[in-house]
């Protein structure tokens, strides 16, 4: 599932955002939703963050939400070389983001499966920080797919 959702045009290799809200906005902008839809999804992402940061620690965040206004599961990957204060669980800046959004009911539970797959990928890459070295979306996608396929 992760491999199907990971696309070069859904990757931001050098995020400009400096804080949590603008990071969510920047990631979401890649999906080219209508302004009304983007606003509603952003609100859901913020509500999810309000109950506990999805900055899981070690420089990684997995912001996620469900919303009626999206018709499919979408994944956006973003890298911030400087790091963004995302109020992560360990208090450290976040460099790698996996934004996942989905409708409330998605066939085949793709949302939860993909979240699990992202978690597996994150476990393998957090220590090396190699993901900070890539210059193009293609390089990052190839790297993440390689890690993912290593099983």
């Amino acid at each position: 599932m992760f491999a199907q959702l990971l696309r070069e045009d859904r990757v931001i290799i050098d995020m400009k955002a400096k804080d949590k809200d603008s990071a969510l906005q920047e990631l979401l902008s890649v999906l080219n939703l209508k302004p009304e839809q983007e606003k509603l999804v952003l609100e859901q992402l913020k509500k999810r963050e309000a109950i506990g940061s999805t900055g899981v620690g070690k420089g990684v965040a997995i912001p996620h939400a469900r919303s009626v206004v999206v018709d499919d599961v979408h994944l956006v990957v973003g890298v911030s070389k400087e790091g963004i204060d995302f109020q992560a669980l360990d208090g450290k800046p976040v460099h790698l983001f996996f934004l996942l959004i989905a409708p409330p009911q998605d066939l085949g539970a793709r949302y939860l499966i993909t979240l699990g797959e992202i978690a597996n990928v994150v476990r393998k890459i957090v220590s090396s920080k190699e993901y900070l070295n890539f210059e193009t979306p293609k390089e990052l996608v190839d790297y993440l797919l390689k890690i993912y396929r290593e099983g």
């Binding site: 009304e36 509603l40 609100e43 859901q44 509500k47 999810r48 309000a50 109950i51 506990g52 999805t54 899981v56 620690g57 070690k58 990684v60 997995i62 939400a65 469900r66 919303s67 009626v68 206004v69 018709d71 669980l89 360990d90 409708p103 409330p104 009911q105 939860l112 499966i113 979240l115 699990g116 992202i118 978690a119 994150v122 476990r123 957090v126």
Partner: protein
């Protein structure tokens, strides 16, 4: 957008999030670097329920009751209309309704299954 529809969309999303918290897979995924801390998860669920209550207070009672009834029947109270079709019961809406330039400005329901609808286009 109709303000009550906007609230229902937010409510549907929070209810789906609450359902996710009942999934072991979800808990594992969000606890990758910290391990699963039941207290943390329980607190997040409590906060989510408070957010839900704040939304519920703003929804007219009759609309909320209908939403709850729909959710117990279909596991959702709001469904998108995609390409003119209700994504809950798959009934095609009349073309006169589909071709309207302005949608989501009033609270509407599917004439077949009665679910609250959000027009995607």
């Amino acid at each position: 957008m109709d303000p009550v529809l906007e609230l229902l969309i937010a409510l549907e999303s929070l209810d789906a999030q609450l359902d996710d918290f009942e999934s072991e897979d979800y808990i594992k995924s969000i606890s990758i670097t910290q391990g699963t801390d039941e207290d943390v998860v329980a607190k997040q669920v409590e906060k989510l329920k408070i957010l839900r209550e704040e939304i519920v207070k703003k929804i007219p009672v009759a609309v909320f009751k209908r939403y709850e009834k729909l959710r117990s029947k279909y596991r959702r109270g709001v469904a998108p209309v995609i390409n003119g079709t209700c994504s809950n019961c798959f009934m095609e809406f009349p073309s006169a309704l589909v071709s309207r330039p302005v949608k989501n400005k009033a609270l509407e329901t599917c004439p077949n299954c009665g679910i609250y609808v959000y027009w995607t286009k």
